[in-house]
Amino acid sequence: MSQGFKEITTNGLWHNNPALVQLLGLCPLLAVTSTVANALGLGLATLLVLVGSNTIVSLIRNHVSDAVRLPVFVMVIASFVTCTEMLMKAYTYELYQILGIFVPLIVTNCAILGRAEGFASKNSVGLAALDGFMMGLGFLLVLVALGALRELLGQGTLLVDMHLLFGPSAMNWLVKPFGENYSFLIFVLPPGAFLVAGVLIALKNMLDNMAKTRADSHKSKPVKGAKRVRTTGHIN
């Protein structure tokens, strides 16, 4: 069951990405990715919770009986979500208000419980923490990509409201590549989230297929008409 460092990293970021492959945690993925700032905020919160919960679950994995493991895991996750919520209230209050219900709802993000149950409860602390970090990072990257695309297509801006996360100096990060009056509401609304997420998943599958065909073409092909390597007796 022990996986290496490299395997955990590639699994979290690409091969087993929670958003693009496991399709877990779609609710926040689709609901809050209308801008990069929102996506980054929720992505970081999820990352924090995932690392924390994976670590604790791994620590207590030998002391919790099978029958009560799920309630215990949820308790652990909920505690971390509450901590994160308080942190957000303290440091990024406006962003916390924008994200609203989706911060407490991190508790119900299946990706987190899935990792606790599927990985952290069977592996050592270090590996579990690493897995949590990589899975969280994979989720965060997809959230940010989705947020960037939707923000760009929907309102024609990039990095709007970043000062909510990075302070007033981020006010002038705002880019408007399409001019002042651009707007294409459907990408701001939920259907746009489904569309862009679908396109991202298709893109990942396409890249995987391309990589696979390339790898296949490098493999040496079996020689046709196999030769006899060993003969016994005399054949006429």
Partner: protein, 355 residues
Amino acid sequence: MTFKQITSPHGHNRQSTGRIMQLVLIATLPGLLVLSYQFGWGILINLFLAVLAAISAEALILKIRQRPIGFYLQDYSAVVTGVLLGLSLPPLVPWWLVIVATVFSIVVAKQLYGGLGSNPFNPAMVGYVVVLISFPIEMTTWVTPVSLLPEGVSHPGLFESLTIVFAGFSPMDGVTGATPLDLFKHSNGLLVDQIYQDNTLFSSASFAGVGWEWANVAFLLGGLGLLKARIFTWHGPVAMLVTLATMSMLFWDGGSSNSPGSPLMHLFSGASMFGAFFIVTDPVSSAVSNRGRLLYGALIGLLVYVIRAWGSYPDAVAFAVLLGNFAAPFIDNYTVPRTYGHNQRRKATAKEEDE
């Protein structure tokens, strides 16, 4: 002697898809003529842009999907989608809006699902709804019918229309105005009689609302032609129109300030007839059996009235049709026809061994 084994379906329609689509195109002609007469060049420009964009988008996606381009373009389904969109979009909208709507119809609603026959939603209506919720200002500005234009104002000519559509000049004052359904949506507590007196749109109309009444009659005629040619059965359109009429009769309440309008107004305003005969009858995204189509049409008629009367949009055919499309597989599940030779209807979910 050999016997060829031929699998079902054994009965074939003599009409190919391409032929059916051509007939549909011909049937839109009366509506197109009336709309162009009433609202000017904008309709024809929309139509041209939408058809051009539809064919290009279809060809492009077919090329990417490595399908035979010529073969699929010959079924005229892309042209029909383009024409239906061109007829439903408001005249004199910017050119990019028409292109966006058409590309969404063809690429997202049709080809991403696998092309003609595999799309769960009516492509033209998906494109329409996408631009309706994305660009509300452009999509709710309609042109005033020709007979109601103020003194000295006329619809922009062809060249002027082209500059409005492509260069973004705004049309002259008085060229744009409200539609009958808009007036009822924003009636501000007036009695129906007052609305009818105050607005020339109603007071100088023959029976429903200047401009839209004859456009609806024209679509009705085209639709009846298609019905006669047996392109579709009567079930869907009739169920939709009857439900719409029944609902508007039930809630007409004699013309109080709360009344959402008379049955005649609802049947001959907005996209009622166009929707009933050209959208509800789409064989791909509707229910399959006759009984199913009755339910499907009735559901759409009901939703059209509910959204028109109590929703926030003045017209609702596109939304109602999409919701109906959602329900179509469900309706099919419960309306499987009795197979010939069997006494009871088969349940769609029943397994073969159970019979």
